[in-house]
């Protein structure tokens, strides 16, 4: 019982950075912009968050600054793909390279340093519920923020005027345009918000999950988040389930490694999250809804211009 609680709680913790990034990408993709730069953006969030926490000794401010950094970096992607209408795939790859490189460069002097981290806060009453309390309500504040964020994102996308406009832009930009919605501004907004949330996921790694900076510490989480967006069919609540499932696999792998009870090479265990992503994608593809990409914005990846109707 004790271990199960621990493993499930660890699944939530290691799923949280995935959740932030997946939510961000859902918002971006819902507007029709594909951002493959998540891996780079997470690293940007991780290093800027870490440096800010180290210098200012304030984790809350650091977390916000990490999001600002993510927003600024995703602005490059927004400009290149929305205003210049360049290829979104290539631009996303460029963002990942840039983020990896820049974080490595500026992070070099911070390797081995320790910054303050978010401390655990047991929520009153809720954390006392058997099993559930320990698993869901005995974490750092960012985990609780991510719960709220799921609800807010879902409400925003499906219940507010702005959210509906955003989805309209992702589905039928030309129609949205003639209805008076500013396609360009909406897409800029979605890309920047998505970038900020992805960086928040990265900052979680260096400010809560650990309290240090390690080069390439996102270790492919950005790419897994891109797969998670597809699994979740672009819906925030499903993203939550997917993130914790993958978080669970990552946590389990770390645990098996640490315990050393099972005689498997750590390198083979480390394959697990990526192998699982691949297998889950294959299994899902036999589901009709998934194959038909229910939930996928129709205009995803297609640059919009008013003159060239395609």
């Amino acid at each position: 019982m004790e271990t199960l609680e621990n493993i499930l709680a660890a699944a939530i913790r290691s799923g949280t950075p995935l959740l932030f990034a997946t939510l961000g990408e859902i918002i971006t993709e819902r507007s029709g912009i594909l951002n493959l730069g998540l891996e780079g953006l997470m690293l940007i969030g991780a290093i800027f968050g870490f440096i800010a926490a180290y210098t200012l000794q304030n984790v809350y401010l650091a977390f916000i600054l990490a999001m600002v950094a993510g927003a600024l970096f995703s602005l490059i992607h927004a400009f290149v793909t929305i205003s210049l209408r360049a290829n979104q795939t290539v631009s996303g790859l460029a963002l990942t390279m840039l983020g990896t490189g820049v974080s490595g460069m500026i992070g070099r002097n911070y390797i081995g340093q320790v910054a303050p981290k978010f401390s655990k806060i047991d929520l009153p009453l809720l954390s006392k519920i058997p099993l559930i309390g320990k698993v869901f309500f005995s974490h750092d504040v960012l985990v609780y923020v991510s719960y709220i964020l799921v609800a807010v994102t879902s409400y925003f996308l499906f219940k507010t005027r702005l959210g509906m406009n955003l989805r309209a832009v992702g589905e039928e930009p030309a129609a949205a345009d003639s209805a008076g919605i500013n396609v360009f501004l909406t897409r800029y907004f979605a890309t920047i918000i998505g970038g900020a949330l992805t960086a928040a996921g990265g900052a979680y790694l260096s400010l809560a999950y650990t309290s240090m900076w390690i080069e390439n510490m996102s270790a492919g989480r950005g790419w897994i988040a891109i797969a998670l967006v597809i699994f979740s069919m672009w819906e925030p609540y499903k993203a939550m389930i997917g993130s914790y499932l993958f978080g669970g696999i990552m946590a389990l792998q770390l645990r098996l490694q640490a315990e050393g009870k099972i005689n498997i090479s750590s390198n083979l265990l480390m394959m697990l999250p990526y192998l699982t992503t691949l297998i889950v994608m294959i299994v899902f593809s036999f589901n009709e809804k998934f194959r038909k990409r229910v939930g996928a914005p129709s205009a995803l990846g297609i640059p919009y211009s008013r003159e060239e109707k395609t």
Binding site: S265, T277, M281, I282, S285
Partner: protein, 373 residues
């Protein structure tokens, strides 16, 4: 009130050497941005000058880093050639790095275990190279089949396969394949001498360069002189039209991915047989990713790909040199590559379109991009 209106329209006239100009302009822009970044970081303009002096001289002079540059050009060019073919049909194989790993692993398996006692050097090398190419092709076949029949996004699948390949290789060199006499370093034993790629004279350059040049012509031939190349182009330009005219997208996808994977696998094979003569940790410095930029900067042209691969080989060698001389982190190269790719996309757009500033015409509503609304 006077409103200025931004209008973006397609340029109709194209001038000669436009593609060349785009590549050069974007290289210059990214070097300038990088220079500013270094300037801010070190606070010393002389450092910027020193950096670029090192970056442009060291890799390109014999006696200095030229041989290294050529040795790095070989895998970059080979991988990029394969990528040209898939990129032409707008399939994003980001998995070249993993395919390269598989090629190197299969070759190592052959050299150390399967064919280790082969006495004929030529047949051994031929066999090992083919082995590497097949392994790379098979690794690329997985995402190809998943995309063709299950419609799975190849970007995510190829990337996942990259991570799996990296850990697989690590498992082998930290575990069963570790050299017992290697002082516990993560590397295999040295391959038998028979499997080493011969050098061209005493230049220090192995025959991989000849294979590369042959494959440039093969790729050119496939892309521009065969029906396959023609079909790939149509699929890339307009998949719907391709489908209506009876072209099988699935078939072409699988052929193109096999070709691309085989070349990446071959690059891995050549790398271990020609340079390290063993499999070791970090044997690739991200060739599979750098080759993506090489292919783009070469505007998907096989001949330009070799030239760009040479320049990027130089960039990698220069980066290593800067690590020693200026104590720069190697991640600087990754950042520079990202910058180059961004400036390439931006200059492409600027060359393709032109921005016209006109006075607002209040009667005409819609139809144009209006910066004010």
């Amino acid at each position: 009130m006077l409103h200025l209106k931004l209008k973006i329209e397609k340029r109709l006239e194209h001038f000669k050497y436009e593609n060349f100009l785009i590549s050069v302009v974007s290289l210059i822009i990214s070097l300038v941005i990088m220079g500013i970044f270094i300037w801010i970081n070190t606070g010393n303009f002389a450092d910027v000058v020193e950096t670029y002096k090192e970056l442009f001289t060291w890799p390109f002079f014999p006696e200095l880093g030229l041989v290294d540059t050529i040795l790095k050009m070989i895998p970059l060019a080979l991988i990029a050639l394969g990528l040209l073919v898939v990129f032409k049909m707008k399939v994003w194989n980001i998995g070249a790095e993993g395919q390269l790993y598989l090629g190197a692993m299969a070759t190592t398996w052959g050299a150390l275990f399967l064919f280790k006692n082969m006495s004929n050097s030529i047949s051994m090398i031929t066999l090992l190279l083919i082995f590497g190419a097949i392994a790379g092709a098979l690794w690329a076949l997985i995402p190809a089949i998943l995309k063709a029949f299950l419609k799975l996004d190849e970007i995510v699948t190829t990337l996942m396969l990259n991570y799996i390949a990296v850990y697989w290789l690590n498992y082998l060199i930290y575990g069963p394949w570790k050299d017992p006499k290697g002082f516990n370093f993560p590397l295999t034993a040295v391959f038998p001498k028979n499997s080493w790629l011969p050098e061209l004279g005493d230049t220090g350059i192995h025959i991989g360069i000849i294979i590369t040049f042959i494959l440039v012509f093969v790729t050119y031939f496939i892309m521009y002189k065969t029906h396959l190349g023609f079909e790939l182009k149509i699929i890339g330009d307009n998949p719907k039209a391709a489908r209506y005219s009876g072209i099988s997208i699935e078939k072409n996808l699988i052929i193109a991915m096999i070709f691309s994977g085989a070349l990446a696998g071959l690059a891995g094979s050549i790398q271990v047989l020609g340079v390290q003569h063993r499999l070791q940790h970090g044997f690739s410095t991200g060739y599979g990713y750098t080759a993506i930029i090489v292919a783009w900067l070469a505007r998907l042209n096989p001949f330009s790909a070799v030239i760009v691969a040479f320049l990027f080989g130089g960039l990698l060698v220069g980066g290593e040199q800067l690590q020693i001389v200026m104590r720069f982190p190697i991640s600087m190269i990754s950042a520079l590559q990202g910058l180059i790719l961004f400036s390439l996309l931006a200059s492409e757009a600027i060359f393709k379109y032109r921005i016209k500033i006109t006075k607002n015409d209040p009667i005409k509503i819609g139809g144009e991009f209006n910066g004010n609304t």
